[in-house]
C-alpha cells in the first residue's frame, strides 16, 4: 500500500502544497518536486553536508529527513539567500571574492551551515570557523580558501 500524504511547506518564504509518499527524502522533495536543485545530494547518509538546509532557522541535513516531516515547517535553501545574481548575500559574495570554491558541489551546504554559525559567532576565530566547517566535506579546496571566505563574510556582515 502506498500512502500519499498532503503537506504544506514554506520554502524561501513561499508556500508549497504537494502530496508525498512517506519515504520521499526532504532533499529529493526540494530538488525533484519543487525544482530547487541548489540543495545538492552527496552521500545521502548525513556525512558530507552537501544537502544542508535551514529547518525552522536551524541547519539540518535534508537527506536525513522525510518530506512529510516538513509539513507546516519553514525551510530556507541556498536559493533563498540572494534576491538575484546581481545581489548576492554577503556570504556568497565572500566565497566569490576569496575563491572559497572550486567545483562548487559542497558550496550550498557550506553556505547553509555558515549562516546560523555567523549569527551565533559574529566575530569568529579561525579555530571556531574550522570547527564549524567540520560537518561539511570539500574534496577540492583543501579548505583554506573556504576559511578565508568565512572570515571575509564575518567582516562584511558586521
Amino acid at each position: 500500500m502506498t500512502q500519499s500524504i498532503p503537506i504544506t511547506v514554506t520554502v524561501n518564504e513561499k508556500d508549497y502544497r504537494r502530496e508525498v509518499e512517506p519515504r520521499m527524502l526532504l532533499s529529493d522533495f526540494l530538488r525533484h518536486e519543487l525544482g530547487l536543485t541548489g540543495t545538492h545530494v552527496g552521500c545521502e547518509h548525513g556525512v558530507c553536508g552537501a544537502c544542508t538546509i535551514l529547518f525552522d532557522g536551524e541547519s539540518a541535513r535534508s537527506c536525513l529527513m522525510f518530506a512529510v516531516q516538513a509539513d507546516g515547517h519553514n525551510i530556507t535553501t541556498v536559493e533563498g539567500l540572494a534576491k538575484d545574481k546581481d545581489n548576492l548575500h554577503p556570504l556568497q559574495q565572500s566565497f566569490w571574492e576569496a575563491h572559497g570554491l572550486q567545483c562548487g558541489y559542497c558550496t550550498p551546504g557550506i553556505l547553509m551551515s555558515m549562516i546560523p554559525f555567523l549569527k551565533q559567532h559574529p566575530d569568529p576565530t579561525e579555530e571556531e570557523i574550522r570547527h564549524a566547517l567540520s560537518g561539511n566535506l570539500c574534496r577540492c579546496t583543501g579548505y583554506q580558501h573556504i576559511v578565508d571566505a568565512v572570515k571575509l563574510a564575518a567582516e562584511k556582515m558586521k
Partner: protein
C-alpha cells in the same frame, strides 16, 4: 540509497504514540531525530514497514529540575542539551560531552532518547547515562517502568526495551558533592565517531582520598563499558601518578574489549584508553577540588 516504502504515522500525544506502536509491534520503528535511523533506512540496512514519528509529540521535549533530579524528555534535541542552562549547572559531565556528538547540523535534529535507544557502542550518550547512573522511563499501553542505565544497555544496538515500549524520560541524579568530572575522546576528525573515549567521575574527600569513581568507555565493547575493577582501585586512595597508571592499565588492558575498526586496531584503542584514562582522572581530580 533510497528508503524502502513504509507506512507513516505522526501522533501528537504520548498516549497515541504508545497505542499506535503497540498495534504494529515488531514491524514498526520509532522515528526520533532520525540521524541514525534514516541513514540506515537509506542504505536499506533497516526496512521498517511502519514508522511512528515522535517529532510532533511536543510533551516529550523538556529539560527541568525536580528536587534532586533532572528530568529530560526523550525528544529533547542534543542541541537543546547543549544550550540549556540547567545542563552545565546540574550535569556538567553531560555539558562537556555533548559538544563531541557529531556536528551542529546533526545535534539540531538528534535527540537524547534516540541516541540512547539506538545503543551504538561508539555513541556518547549511552556512556554518559551509565556514568551518571541515569534512570530511563519506558512506557507501553499497560503502564510505565523505570530501568537503570546499566541494565538498559544489553548489547550492541540492543536495549532492555520490550517491542512495544517507548523511552519517554531520562532522570539524572544531580547531587554529586565534591565530585569532579571529565569527558575525553579521540576521533579521526572533529565530529566523527571516536576511536576511543571515556567519561570519568571521581569523588574526593577533604583528605584528598577518592570515594566513588566511575570510568565508562565508548567503542570499547558491545555497549558502554564500565571498568569496575579500575574504579575500585581508586576507592579510599589518594590519586597519585602511580595509582593513575595502575588504574589506566587495569581498565585498558583487562576490562575493555575493543574490536578495532578501519581507523584503529584494538591495540591502538587500548593505548588510547590508557592515555585518556589518565587525562580524564587528572582533570576530574582537579575539578573535584574546585567544586568542594
Amino acid at each position: 540509497m533510497k528508503p524502502a516504502p513504509f507506512e507513516y504515522h505522526a501522533p501528537d500525544s504520548i498516549e497515541q504514540a504508545v497505542e499506535l506502536y503497540s498495534q504494529y509491534n515488531d514491524e514498526a520503528k520509532i522515528l526520533a531525530g532520525g540521524q541514525s535511523l534514516v541513514p540506515a533506512m537509506n542504505f536499506r540496512v533497516v526496512q521498517p514497514s511502519v514508522l511512528v514519528d515522535l517529532n510532533r509529540v511536543s510533551e516529550l521535549s523538556y529539560i527541568r529540575e525536580d528536587g534532586d533530579v533532572l528530568r529530560i524528555g526523550s525528544m529533547a534535541r542534543e542541541r537543546h542539551l547543549e544550550f540549556d542552562s540547567l545542563i552545565p549547572k546540574w550535569a556538567p559531565l553531560l555539558a562537556e560531552a555533548v559538544h563531541f556528538i557529531a556536528h551542529p547540523q546533526i545535534r539540531n535534529r538528534g535527540t537524547i532518547g534516540g541516541s540512547i535507544v539506538n545503543a551504538d557502542p561508539a555513541a556518547e550518550l549511552p556512556v554518559l547515562m551509565v556514568a551518571l547512573n541515569a534512570r530511563l522511563k519506558a512506557k507501553n499501553k499497560s503502564g510505565e517502568r523505570w530501568i537503570s542505565a546499566p541494565d538498559f544497555f544489553v548489547g550492541m544496538f540492543t536495549t532492555a526495551l520490550e517491542p512495544d515500549e517507548i523511552l519517554v524520560e531520562i532522570e539524572l541524579p544531580v547531587s554529586f558533592p565534591r565530585t569532579g568530572w571529565s569527558f575525553v575522546e579521540v576521533a579521526p576528525r572533529a565530529g566523527d565517531y571516536a576511536m576511543m573515549g571515556v567519561a570519568a567521575l571521581v569523588t574526593v574527600d577533604e583528605a584528598g582520598k577518592c570515594g566513588n569513581a566511575k570510568l565508562v568507555y565508548l567503542n570499547a565493547g558491545e555497549g558502554p563499558v564500565e571498568a569496575k575493577e579500575a574504579e575500585q582501585l581508586l576507592e579510599g586512595e589518594a590519586l597519585n601518578d602511580e595509582l593513575m597508571e595502575s588504574v589506566a592499565v587495569k581498565a585498558s588492558q583487562e576490562e575493555i574489549n575493543p574490536f578495532g575498526n578501519i581507523h584503529a586496531s584494538p591495540e591502538f584503542q587500548r593505548h588510547l584508553a590508557n592515555v585518556l584514562t589518565k587525562k580524564a582522572l587528572k582533570q576530574a581530580l582537579q575539578r573535584a577540588g574546585e567544586t568542594s
